[in-house]
C-alpha cells in the first residue's frame, strides 16, 4: 500500500523558532510537493521538487525553504516561524506528470 508519511501530526511552536516538517514517501516517486491549507483558501503550493537536490518555488514560497537530500524525503523548513504560518501543511508525491497526487495525513502547526 502506497504511503506518504508526515512525521508530526500536531506541533506548537513559538514565534521565531526554527521548524522542520518532515515527509517521507515509499513509492519511489520523483516529484514531491508541500502545500498549506487554510479555510476558505484551499490548498496553495509552497515548494516542489522533481529530483534529489532540485527545488522549485510554488505560489507562496516566502518564509519557507525546503531540502531534498534523498529521493524519498522532502523537508519543509520555517527559518523563523511567525503567527501567520499557523496552518495545516500537506506533503504529497507523484510519479511522472499524469498520475494523481498521494497525500500525507497533514501536519497542523500552531505558532504562538
Amino acid at each position: 500500500d502506497v504511503k506518504v508519511t508526515q512525521s508530526s501530526r500536531y506541533l506548537v511552536k513559538r514565534t521565531g523558532e526554527k521548524v522542520f516538517l518532515e515527509c517521507v514517501q515509499d513509492m519511489d516517486h520523483e516529484n514531491m510537493f508541500w502545500y498549506r491549507q487554510d479555510p476558505g483558501l484551499g490548498l496553495r503550493l509552497i515548494y516542489f521538487s522533481y529530483d534529489v537536490k532540485m527545488k522549485e518555488k510554488g505560489d507562496i514560497p516566502e518564509g519557507y525553504s525546503v531540502s531534498r537530500e534523498k529521493k524519498e524525503r522532502f523537508s519543509l523548513i520555517l527559518e523563523s516561524a511567525s503567527t501567520n504560518q499557523t496552518s495545516m501543511y500537506l506533503c504529497a508525491s507523484i510519479r511522472g506528470s499524469t498520475g494523481e497526487l498521494f497525500f500525507g495525513e497533514g501536519s497542523r502547526l500552531t505558532v504562538l
Binding site: G40, G42, L43, L101
Partner: protein, 116 residues
C-alpha cells in the same frame, strides 16, 4: 496560469438524493482533472481523474464526474448520497505543459453535508 473555481462553499443534500458538486477550470491546452475528498484532520484522498477518453469518469465510493470541454467543467456526482459522504471536496487541474510535474492547482473546496 491555470485556475479552478468551486462556486459553492457548501452543498446540502438529503440522504438518498443525488448530489452534484460543481467545478469549472481554466487551463492552457488539454487539462488533467482530479477530485479529492478530505475528512476532518486528515490528508486528501484521491477519488477520480480525467486524463483523456470517455467524458464520464467513475471513481471511488460510487462517485463519478463528467468532463465537459465546451463548458470547461468537471462536476462531481453521485446518484444516491450517504451520510458518510459528508466531507470537504476539492477539484484540481493540471495543464499539459510538457515539462516536469509542477503540482496541481486546487479549488477552494466545497463542504458537502448529507442530512439523514
Amino acid at each position: 496560469a491555470q485556475s479552478v473555481a468551486q462556486p459553492e462553499d457548501q452543498v446540502n443534500v438529503a440522504e438518498g438524493n443525488p448530489l452534484t458538486v460543481k467545478c469549472t477550470y481554466s487551463v492552457s491546452g488539454n487539462p488533467y482533472l482530479f477530485w479529492y475528498v478530505q475528512y476532518p484532520n486528515r490528508g486528501l484522498q484521491f477519488l477520480l481523474k480525467y486524463i483523456t477518453g470517455d467524458n464520464l469518469v467513475k471513481g471511488s465510493y460510487g462517485f463519478e464526474a463528467e468532463f465537459n470541454k465546451s463548458q470547461t467543467s468537471f462536476h462531481l456526482k453521485k446518484p444516491s448520497a450517504l451520510v458518510s459522504d459528508s466531507a470537504l471536496y476539492f477539484c484540481a487541474v493540471r495543464g499539459i505543459s510538457g515539462g516536469g510535474a509542477d503540482g496541481l492547482t486546487f479549488g477552494k473546496g466545497t463542504h458537502l453535508i448529507i442530512q439523514p
